[in-house]
Structure formats: C-alpha cells, structure tokens
C-alpha cells in the first residue's frame, strides 16, 4: 500500500491514534472482562472491542489514504470514543465515571463524520450548528446530569456527584431523552438532505456510508421513541441491538465502498480503452466515452494551448486552456462543486478533465482514464490548436486588409490633392499660353515658364509620394542605401549602425524602412533630441530594427496615429513593436520582423 501525499506530521498523527487506540483497546478489554451486568457476555466481550478496533483501524487507513481529508481522523476518533464508552463497564470508579458520563460521545462523532464525508468539513451552516448541538448534548448535558444523579445501584460510585437532586435530575434526564430524539431524528433529516443535494456521481460515493448512517440513526430514533412510549423492554432492546449492529457496519461500508470503486475502476478503464478503439469520428465522442467511464454526465474537456498559440485575449507568453471550438476556458475553483484533473503525455501538458468534485475521491480512476485517453486527447488538442490558429490567421488577414485599404485611400487622396491639381493647373496655363502665342508672345512665354514650374512641382510631389509608398532605392539597392538616404534627410544627426548587407524579403525591408522613417519623423517632431541612432540586425530568422534618441522621452504609442499605423502594419506580417520611453530618458523604438514565412506551428 502506498500512500501519496502523506506528510511526516500526518504520519505522526496516525501513529499517535494507533497508540491511543491500543491503550483504549486494552482498557476496554479489561473493562469488559471484569465488568458486571453484561449480557450476553460472550457477545459483548467479542463485539465491543472489535467495533472499536474496526473504527480506529479503518480511520487510520482512511486518513493515510486521503491525508487532505479529516474523515479518517474522525473515524478513528469514533473508535477511541467507543473505547471510552466501554469504560462504563469497568469496576474502577474513575474509569466508570468517565465511561458513564461520556458514553454517548461516539454517536456525536460518528454523526459529525457522516455529515462531513468525504472531505470531513461541514459546509452547510445548518450542519455545523447541528453538530455543535449534539456535541453539547453528549458532553455538557450528561456531565450536568452526573453532577446531580448518583450511579444506579450495583455500579461503582459516580465521582462527580455533587448533590442528589431528583428535580434537576429529572430535567437533565428529560433533556437527554428528547435531545437524543432530536439528535437521531435530526441526523436522519440532515443526511437525507445531503443526499438530495448531491449530484449523481456524488451520490454513488456517499451511498454506502450515508444509508448506513440513516439506518443507524433511524433505529436509534425508534429506540428512544420506544423508551418514551414505554414499549416492552424486549422490543426496545432488539431495536437498540439492531442499531448497534448497523453502527458497527459503518467501517465495513466504508471499506466496501473502496473495494467497489477499485473494482469498478478497472472495469471502467477497460471499457474506456475498448471504446476508445472505436472513437474516431465526431467531436464529443471522446467526451462521451470519458463521461460514461467516469459516470459523470457533466464531464467536460479543456485542451492546453501553449504560449504563443495566440488565443485571443491572452498575452502572447501565457498558455491557456480552451474548449474544442477554441474559446478560452476557466478551470473550476476549489469549493465550486467541480474540479479538474490534468492529463500529461510524454511529460507535456495535454488537457484537463473537468469533473464533479466527488471524483476527487477517486483520483486513481480519473488519472487512469486520462492516461488511457491521452493519445486521443492529444489529437483533439491539436485539432483545437489548429482552430485557434485559423481564427488568428483570419483576424490577421482582416487587419492586413484594413491597413492596405487605408493606405490606398491615403494614396488616392494625396494624388488627388497634390499632383493631380498641379497637372490640371499646368494644362490650363498651357492652354492660355497657346491662345496668346501670336497675340501676346511675352505673356505667353511667362505663362509657359509658369507651366514648367508647375510641372517641376508636380514631379517633386510625385517623387515624394512614391517615396512614401515604396522608395525605388529600397527596391533596387536594399535597406542600407535607403536608410542612408533617410538619415541624410533627417534634421538631426543620425548614426547609422551596421545594416545587413544581404537582401531581405521585400515585405520585411519595406516594414523596416517605414519603421525607421516614422520613428525618425517622430523624433524630429517631438523628441527635442540632439541625435538619434538606427541599427538593423538579423537575429536568427528575425530582423530587429532599433531607433534610439536622447530626447525627452515620454512617447505615448496610443497618442499618434503614425505609431499606431506602424503597429498595425507590423502585426499584419507577424511583427512586433515595442516602445520604451521613460520621461527624460529618451525613446527607443524596437521592431521585430520575422524574415521567414511563418507557418503557424513554427512560432516560438
């Protein structure tokens, strides 16, 4: 038996329980063997220690098996409280008093344990109040009673007796009786309520213990009712014995539950593997197979998208879980009634199975199912990844189209407002000159000279426009000479560092050129810098463009449409723009442009 998750502290705790349990067992045996008025004697000698051992040992095993749950400890405490109760059969006054006063404590502990199964924690405020009440009922009230009631005749002396007050005794006795009724009846109600609240997978888990508990409590209730109604003692004793017998079977029910889950686990996983052989078609068939293997209809699968797969809405360096259609998924938080188990394959995270939190009790089952399905999960994960990337490509294409359309409109506008107007004026001027050539040659000559001026200006504007679209020098001679030209035209000193001598893809060179052009334009306009430095480096498959200035800094990328347009342009070719601009410390604009054609899987 291996117990994962068992810390040294808990190991010590279990050992302590075991030690106390042994002591208790010894004391109980002594008490039983030497005690009086126990019929039938052999049954009692056999059963009583056995029940105590069953609870304590099962409790220790449960605690070791699930160290994060308090249930195991509670079970063991039931056993120890049981031993405490058996001390009531002893002849020794101290032991007798203890056993007599706290003889029903074990009932409170077992109700607490059953209500808290499987985590050992009581979540409902009603449950909590109830448990506190019955603890009071089994400790405070009997103690109060013992203060005023002597032990029955033939029994050892009650050591805590203060004064024999039959009035108070009567009250205490009534409280105890009705209290027991309340406790037993309340336990039945609360356990049934627990059942009603539970989801089908949770019910499967709770069933053995819960029904045991309900049966015990019901029988106890009947016993008390029988006493109150003064039914014949034989009937009351029979019911009482039946109650004890069912109570004794609680540890067995717990162990049976474990055995059943182990058996069914093997079955489930076997069926799952067989079924997975046939799984291939249709989205959701794996989910259905897992759902029926784990018997959780609400089961869902989330696939792991590693960083840089580009799930919309996530930063590029984080991985994220998505569902089969590629939408982001949030994993359930503890306490929400659902939890998740991650599935790995060959050391890499593949998917997470989101399931009812009752399956936390059977982690081996979930893990086995996950391992059986790992290959299929990986395939489905790749499908989801593909879908995410297709969506990203579509979005990127839309952005690119947007950028291109805007550029085109700008060009048309510039052409219309600039060169076209000049050429119109030119044509008109020449028209007049033509008319005046004979009648007023001097005026005609002046007009013609004017027309030439317009032509020159139109040429200049067209040249500027062409440079704004894609400079010829960039196409013909590459980045180096084109950036030299940019640097020369800048109104401040520009140090041009090394530029790759080899030609880069046209789109890359274009993007790099415009990054520098826009950056230098901004430096000239806003930075109040004394000089700027431009460098282009090729690092692996990426062109890194940096423009640094020593100006006032504080550049805001959202403020200027130029920088925003750059970001759009770059993101359309999978590039990135980073602006570092602390106030007073100058500005650095850094663009990373991939040179290789990016296939979706080659992105780092």
């Amino acid at each position: 038996m291996s117990f994962p998750g068992l810390t040294a502290g808990k190991r010590a705790g279990i050992a302590a329980i075991g030690f106390v349990g042994l002591l208790g067992l010894a004391a109980a045996i002594v008490a039983v063997v030497t005690g009086t008025d126990l019929t039938p004697r052999w049954l009692v000698i056999l059963l009583v220690p056995l029940i105590g051992v069953a609870f304590t040992a099962t409790g220790m095993y449960a605690w070791a098996r699930r160290p994060e749950s308090w249930f195991g400890l509670q079970m063991s405490l039931v056993g120890l409280a049981w031993f405490l109760a058996t001390l009531g059969g002893s002849d020794e006054p101290v032991l007798f008093t203890l056993g007599w006063v706290f003889g029903s404590l074990y009932a409170a502990v077992v109700i607490h344990a059953l209500l808290g199964f499987p985590t050992g924690r009581l979540t409902s405020p009603v449950d909590r109040a109830f448990v506190i009440a019955i603890y009071a009922l089994t400790t405070v009230v009997p103690l109060a009673q013992a203060l005023v009631v002597p032990s029955p005749a033939g029994y050892p002396r009650n050591l805590v007796l203060i004064s024999d007050d039959s009035g108070l005794a009567g009250i205490a006795s009534a409280v105890l009786q009705y209290g027991s009724l309340f406790a037993a009846g309340g336990a039945v109600v609360l356990l049934l309520a627990r059942w009603a609240r539970a989801t089908p997978p949770q019910r499967r888990l709770l069933a053995p213990l819960l029904w045991c508990g309900v049966a015990t409590a019901t029988l106890l209730t009947l016993t008390v009712i029988g006493e109150l109604l003064h039914l014949p003692e034989g009937v009351v004793n029979a019911v009482d014995l039946a109650g004890v017998a069912i109570f004794a079977s609680v540890p067995l029910a717990f162990l049976a539950g474990i055995v059943r889950s182990n058996l069914s686990r093997g079955q489930s996983v076997g069926q799952l593997v067989a079924r997975l052989g046939g799984v291939g078609g249709g989205r959701g068939s794996l989910r259905d197979a897992l759902s029926s293997a784990l018997r959780d209809r609400s089961l869902a699968i989330a696939y792991w998208m590693p960083a840089a797969t580009g799930v919309p809405g996530t930063p590029p360096d984080q991985g994220r879980y998505v569902d089969a259609s590629g939408a982001a998924v949030e994993l359930p938080r503890p306490g929400s009634g659902r939890s998740f188990t991650e599935v790995e394959r060959e050391g890499r995270r593949v998917a997470a199975i989101i399931h009812d939190s009752s399956l936390d009790e059977e982690p081996e089952l979930v893990r086995a199912a996950g391992a059986a399905a790992a290959l299929t999960l990986e395939n489905e994960r790749l499908d989801a990844e593909l879908r995410v990337q297709i969506a990203e490509v579509r979005a990127s294409r839309a952005r690119l189209l947007d950028v291109v359309t805007r550029e085109r409109r700008r060009i048309e506008r510039d052409l219309h407002d600039g060169a076209q107007q000049r050429l119109v004026a030119l044509a008109l001027t020449l028209g007049i000159a033509e008319q005046q050539v004979d009648s007023d040659p001097a005026s005609a000559q002046a007009l013609i000279r004017e027309a030439r001026g317009e032509a020159r200006l139109a040429l200049e504007e067209l040249r500027e426009l062409a440079r704004g679209i894609h400079p010829a020098i960039l196409t013909d001679r590459g980045l180096g000479p084109a950036l030299e030209a940019l640097a020369s035209r800048a109104p401040l000193p520009v140090e041009l560092g090394d530029v790759p001598r080899e030609r880069l893809p046209a789109a890359v060179e274009g993007a790099a050129y415009f990054v520098v052009a826009e950056a230098l334009a901004n430096v000239a306009k806003y930075a109040r810098a004394s000089c700027a430095a431009v460098a282009v480096r090729r690092v692996n498959g990426t062109a890194v463009v940096e423009v640094r200035d020593d100006g006032v800094g504080g550049a805001d990328p959202s403020a200027g449409s130029g920088l925003r347009g750059l970001q759009d342009r770059l993101s359309a070719i999978d590039g990135r723009l980073a602006i570092t601009s602390l106030s007073g410390m100058g500005t650095t604009i850094r663009a990373e442009i991939p040179c290789l054609p990016t296939t979706t899987t080659s992105r780092r």
């Binding site: 032509a455 020098i473 013909d476 001679r477 000479p481 030299e484 640097a487 020369s488 004394s530 000089c531």
Partner: protein, 216 residues
Amino acid sequence: MRVVIAEDSVLLREGIVRLLEEAGHEVVGQAGDAEDLVRKVTAHRPDIAIVDVRMPPTNTDDGLRAALELRERTPETSVLVLSQYVEEGYAHELIGGGAAGVGYLLKDRVADVERFVDAVARVGEGGSALDPEVVAQLLGRRRRDDPLDALTPREREVIALMAEGRSNSAIAQELVVTERAVEKHVTSIFGKLSLPPAAQDHRRVLAVLRYLDARA
C-alpha cells in the same frame, strides 16, 4: 559637341536628343542597352556619353558599370550619368578616382532644360556636374559638432554650388553677387575646413567631396 545617349526609355531618349540638338550639339549615337553603349562610344569617340544608370540587360546598374568601364577605356570621353534617385554610392564610384569629365544628375533634372544643357556642356569640356539633390543629401547629413556649422549661410550656398562643379563665375551668376565676392567666400570656406587649395573646378569638387566623405 558630339554626344552619345544611352537610355532605354524611347520617349525620354527622343526628348533629350531634341533638347541637345536645339542647343546646337550633334547626337552621333543612341544606345538602348549597356553593351550597345560601349560599342557606340568606342566606335564614335564622342565628347560626352549621357548614360542612364538603369538599363538592360539586368536593369539594376548596368549603365553605371558601363560608364565606369568607359572611363577606363576611353578616358577622353566624358560621362554624364542619370539616375532615378540619389544614391551616394554611385557618386563615390564615379568620382572616386577624379571628378574631371564626370557628372551625376537625377533624371528629373532633364526637365530643367537650362541646367541640363549647362551641365552637359560643363562635363563635356572636362568639368564636373553633381546634381544639387545629391549635394544636398551629402551636405545635409547632420553630424554632432559639425564643422560645417562654422560656415555662414552664404558660405553653405557657395560650398553646395562648388560641390556641384560650378565655376566661380557660374556661382556668382546663380547667387547674384560679384565674382570677387565668390572668391572671398571660397577662400574663407577652404580656410575654415582646412582644405588644400585647388586650382581647377573639378579638383575643387573632389576636395569637397573627399571632405564630406571623411566626415560621414
């Protein structure tokens, strides 16, 4: 003068031919690609060859290569190179060994008829002609603690015109001042920049260009 023109755009070539003939020059050969140019120049030995940088067969810088080849083979033929954009590298390659009989103009400059004809004449006679835009780019390159900042605005105009290859009288005409004033400016410039005095205009061009080059 006798001229050979190498230009693959027929429209432009015709325009230049007409322009030059109006100005009194004789166009003895027209070439549509680099090889044809070399053949025609070698055959006709003109005073000047006007060459477009970009020509067949590769349409990158065949014209430039041919022009440089001609400078070696037929040094008595001046070369005036036309380019679509300013490329400092071309200027360096053309003028590297010497600026006599070399010119580099932007194609657009052809539309400026007087300037173009003037440049052709200058280069054909052994002088130099650098396009004002090329000069502007060279001069415009800002430097920290730029020695050129020591020049007065008028001196900057003069040095730009000097770099273009203009003579003192041409500069005086351009700036509407006396030739003496120009001479004074030139001396001042050479002094401020510690340039060696140069007698001929094309040597001046070389000196200034070398200076600007070293500054870069």
